[in-house]
Symmetry: C2
Subunit: 342 residues, 2 copies
């Protein structure tokens, strides 16, 4: 099959590799209808994470079930499915507690930017798209379905972890696709004021389309001052940290009101938590790798009923063959998020 492989920093290729295959009786193989590039893929792409030369990359996709293992009961060939980036049995003690991202049988998609992807724990992981089969899926819905694979549930998890409630003020740090989905989540959850920190016009536009009531272009002290003004000096009731850098985390804690929680979903890189401030102001930290499967049924309903359209984060669609250009576009921030069609 054709699959995206990473060989060295910025050396990303579409290669011929052995087909993804059923290896365990609980596996399924999915033919990818659409995959995409994640902000976190840029870490190894830029050489900031270790690289296994020639390994496939890409953990987000929607597709059609191509083959199932002997123990898979709930899915069959031809089903159109959303593939959560983290696979889970959805039955273990951690899954039952809503932390599917810590499943005792955790797996991850390893060839989402490819023609085929192996899904472990298929019965627990996959969610079928209602009314779609044999690859017959509403093309208009496809971007939003693809967003359910990771980026939208991750933004949602930030909002859940931050404790967004009706009527409060939520601040979202980060205007990448996850941050924008965090804006959408906070808005759907009823936050009265949703403040997006963004200095890029196209991203500001998506933030507003997703329900941001305020867009703050400044950073650091400027952002803090703006949030102070918006909240009458109090600080934000909930803060979503959707980047993973030290500066973003610092901003998140700076704008959080005493007693509030920073919900974090950006994979932390070089973050040093401001524990003295956390202590003196009682600002908590919650979140982490999103339990995608937990939120999928609810989010799929919202997409199906057209109440949310998270697919708006895809502002560039390329054929899989042009994956290298997709990475360049995201690396240079020319694109928010790139959809790839095999």
């Amino acid at each position: 099959m054709r699959a995206t492989t990473l060989h060295a920093p910025r050396d990303i290729r579409l290669s011929e590799v052995p087909d993804a295959a059923v290896e365990l009786p609980t596996d399924a193989v999915v033919r990818v209808l659409a995959g995409c590039i994640c902000g976190s893929d840029l870490w190894p792409y830029r050489g900031e994470n270790d690289i296994t030369e020639g390994a496939t990359i890409g953990h987000e996709c929607v597709g059609v079930v191509e083959e199932v293992g002997a123990d898979v009961r709930s899915f069959g060939v031809g089903d159109v499915v959303v593939v959560p980036f983290c696979h889970c049995d959805n039955t273990c003690v951690h899954c039952r507690a809503g932390v599917q991202s810590a499943c005792t049988n955790l797996g991850v998609t390893r060839s989402g930017q490819a023609e085929l992807a192996r899904v472990t724990q298929a019965d627990g992981s996959l969610v079928a798209v209602p009314g779609a089969s044999d690859g017959d899926v509403d093309e208009e819905l496809l971007p939003s379905l693809l967003a359910l694979s990771d980026v939208m549930p991750t933004g949602w998890h930030a909002a859940v972890s931050a404790g967004v409630t009706q009527g409060g003020t939520a601040v979202v740090v980060g205007d990448g696709a996850v941050g924008l989905c965090g804006v959408l989540a906070a808005s759907v959850m009823g936050a009265e004021q949703v403040v997006a920190l963004s200095r890029h016009q196209p991203r500001q536009d998506i933030a507003r389309a997703f329900g941001a009531t305020h867009v703050v272009a400044g950073r650091g002290d400027e952002a803090l001052e703006a949030v102070r003004e918006i909240t009458g000096g109090v600080g934000a009731d909930a803060v979503l940290e959707c980047v993973g850098t030290d500066q973003a985390m610092r901003t998140a804690f700076d704008v959080a009101r005493p007693g509030s929680t920073v919900g974090f979903v950006g994979v932390p890189h070089g973050v040093e938590l401001p524990i003295r401030r956390m202590f003196s102001k009682n600002v908590g930290l919650a979140g982490g790798m999103a339990p995608v499967r937990r939120y999928l049924p609810q989010l799929l309903d919202l997409v199906g009923s057209r109440e949310i359209d998270p697919g708006l984060v895809f502002d560039l669609t390329l054929p899989l063959a042009d994956v290298a250009e997709g990475y360049r576009a995201m690396d240079e921030r020319r694109a928010v998020k790139v959809m790839l069609r095999p």
Copy 2:
């Protein structure tokens, strides 16, 4: 008045200093019936915090109102009161949100180990002991009333922050007076299993009296292994970190189950939070300086009805004149917590 003063590491004295006085119309002055030594007083005592030579020390006390400022409406001379270590107006936006320890008019007791203590924001800060006046307080209740000044509400805050609920497993890291009060709090809140980490017989005994169902004497990996066994491999539903050191924090996160929260109340010293683990296992951190005033009415009821007896943490009572011996006893861990009588 006679007050405890710190002059250099381990140079603690009872000195003659100017009387605590009403300085603002919202102040009260309280004649101390009993004060005590806090674990956090040991940081400057040991020279691990900066010392202002000759400054008074001590932030916990119960006493009798001696004088009130012109604006104090709810208290009068002779009232027996619990003095929260952090003073608050109990009306500002943060107080109304239950974070009295971030009050916009925050103050702290500065001469609790003395004859007189100044209390700022007296109307908001103080809580009267029902049925007691003119210093006529049930001597038997005095230790438990004194514990309400800081140590018991702080242990309670750890349990609230950790999200202790009925039927779960709570692990308490730290067998100081705060940790022991955390055990008591978790037990009152209905945790089915309350695990105290302690290797000191007298502290283990208090932990059991406070409702600990398990006492684990090991540390580090041994403690982790013991909690794994107690929880059937799952980890604790709630963890109370009541020390403030890096090792204690590490143990707290190690024993926490995915999706749970570490409630922390130990003033952090040299703590580096394990953010990768927090992210991958979705273990949150919440807590900080306890909003004592928030919990006081409820805890005073529990003490008054004899449902809790947090005064058990005082295993040594000394006349104020012997305060230096009190510090030595706590520093050498010969005493859990020392009560001082002026």
